[in-house]
């Protein structure tokens, strides 16, 4: 029982980060039909940026804020320089562009930062808290709580502000969005910027637990993508549930089977989802009343 609980804790912690990455995928996908495989690199920029800014003498909150802003700038540049010029290209071409961008970002990160693993100090101590025979690190609460704050903030933005609704409207019907006067280019830039910020927050929160390096983005992107697929691409609730599920499956796979196959769990999940229910758990059905 204690072992089970332990695996649940670690699964939820890492799952919360996958959920944030999946949310980033969802935002960009909804607004533009692009699956942005550079999404994981925002996680890296958040983590590595904070590490190096703190090393330069800044406090954690300041370093984290600057790292998030930097990730947003990279997201906006990605949209402006790589996605916008290719407007009208096929989804496959756009996906390849984002993969290229991801490789480019990793390359630049190697130069700007370095090739070593880095960590951040835990935000509020490292004394484990015992719950039901298992222990949980205080940082896990930061990760899971941070994820829920981001989800709540995103929900408020999308449901309660006109700009947020404009994002939803653009996702629902781009032609109609243009006809009511929504500047679709601005909405897409907003989606890229927001998803970058969300990814960076995930990276900052999780780095004290998992370490970070210039190339950690790849696995985060693939697992976040798996999470988005499991939940149903395009559905924010699905992204969160999918992220937590992938995290839990990974933890149980590592705990009960073998940690060698930890990373395989997410990919098996993608295959199963694609074979059995391609629309995912919460995916929209392609039926609409006319």
């Amino acid at each position: 029982m204690a072992e089970f609980l332990q695996l649940v804790f670690s699964g939820l912690t890492i799952g919360a980060v996958y959920a944030l990455v999946a949310l980033g995928f969802t935002l960009v996908y909804n607004a533009s039909d692009v699956i942005n495989f550079a999404q994981g690199d925002f996680v890296m920029i958040g983590g590595m940026g904070t590490v190096f800014l703190m090393a330069a003498g800044l406090s954690l909150p300041v370093a984290a804020m600057i790292a998030i802003v930097a990730a947003v700038l990279v997201g906006l540049l990605l949209h402006r320089l790589a996605i916008e010029p290719a407007r009208g290209a096929s989804p496959v071409s756009l996906i390849m562009i984002t993969i290229g961008a991801s490789i480019f970002i990793k390359g630049v990160a190697q130069l700007v930062f370095d090739k070593q693993f880095h960590s951040l100090p835990a935000f509020s101590g490292t004394a484990p808290i015992a719950i039901g025979g298992a222990t949980i690190l205080p940082q896990s609460f930061w990760v899971i709580g941070g994820m829920f704050c981001v989800v709540a903030g995103l929900w408020l933005f999308l449901e309660k502000t006109l700009i947020g609704k404009a994002v939803l409207a653009t996702a629902a019907n781009r032609l109609a969005a243009r006809l009511v006067g929504i500047n679709v280019t601005v909405v897409l830039a907003l989606a890229f910027g927001l998803s970058a910020a969300i990814g960076a927050v995930g990276g900052i929160l999780v780095t004290p637990i998992t370490l970070t390096r210039y190339d950690v983005g790849t696995l985060f992107a693939l697992k976040g993508f798996a999470a988005a697929m499991v939940g149903g691409m395009g559905n924010p609730i699905g992204a969160v549930v999918g992220g937590l599920l992938i995290g839990l499956m990974e933890a149980f796979g590592a705990g009960y089977l073998s940690s060698t196959y930890k990373d395989a769990v997410a990919f098996v999940a993608i295959l199963v989802v694609l074979l059995v229910m391609p629309q995912g758990l919460f995916g929209r059905r392609a039926v609409e009343r006319v």
Binding site: L162, L168, A176, R178, V180, R289, V290
Partner: protein, 233 residues
Amino acid sequence: MLTVDGLTSAYGRIEVLHAVSLDVAAGEIVALVGSNGAGKTTLLRTLSGVQPASGGRIVFEGEEIQRLPAHARVVRGISQSPEGRQVFGPLSVEDNLRLGAFRRNDGTVNSRLDAVYTMFPVLSERRRTAASSLSGGQQQMLAIGRALMAQPKLLLLDEPSLGLAPLLVDQILEAVVDLKRKGITVLLVEQNASAALAIADRGYVLEVGRIVHEGNGQALLQDPKVRAAYLGV
């Protein structure tokens, strides 16, 4: 109010509008009729700026607007209810309407919202419903209401009667006449030519991307060539 002069537009290399010229004066209902594929929808989309013009001029209230992006044209007072309704399916009826006022989100939004609900009471009853679950007629009302929320000077209506029961068609067209009384200029595109010309001050007949007839609504209704080609008599 609107002068279109030699407007051409193309999808890729295929030109679908060939030097179309027309005028719409303030306070008029102008009908644009023609068969399927004549270019009516393309013309309206070019006027709204969601389809690029490849030549010619669009002059609205004395200003050339053919190079302006779509959102700038909404600001200047051109608003469109597109073909096929194109409502924001997952969003509520009220959100659809509020988004219609995206470029005119000022203190008068709520009074305009009330005006739309007065015009189409069924929308008020279903204001929390997702737009996708409305019937075709209700979606049409929503699309028109959404276009009105932008407080347009010129309203472009694309096939508002398409796929609706005859009773609903009458209701929608009555609403259009009502809009004219309120001072909104309307450019109405219809395949249902007799219904459109009956309420229009003037009409244009578009055929494979060219204006082939023009005149006042009644005259076109009586024109033997128009009758033979578009009214099925």
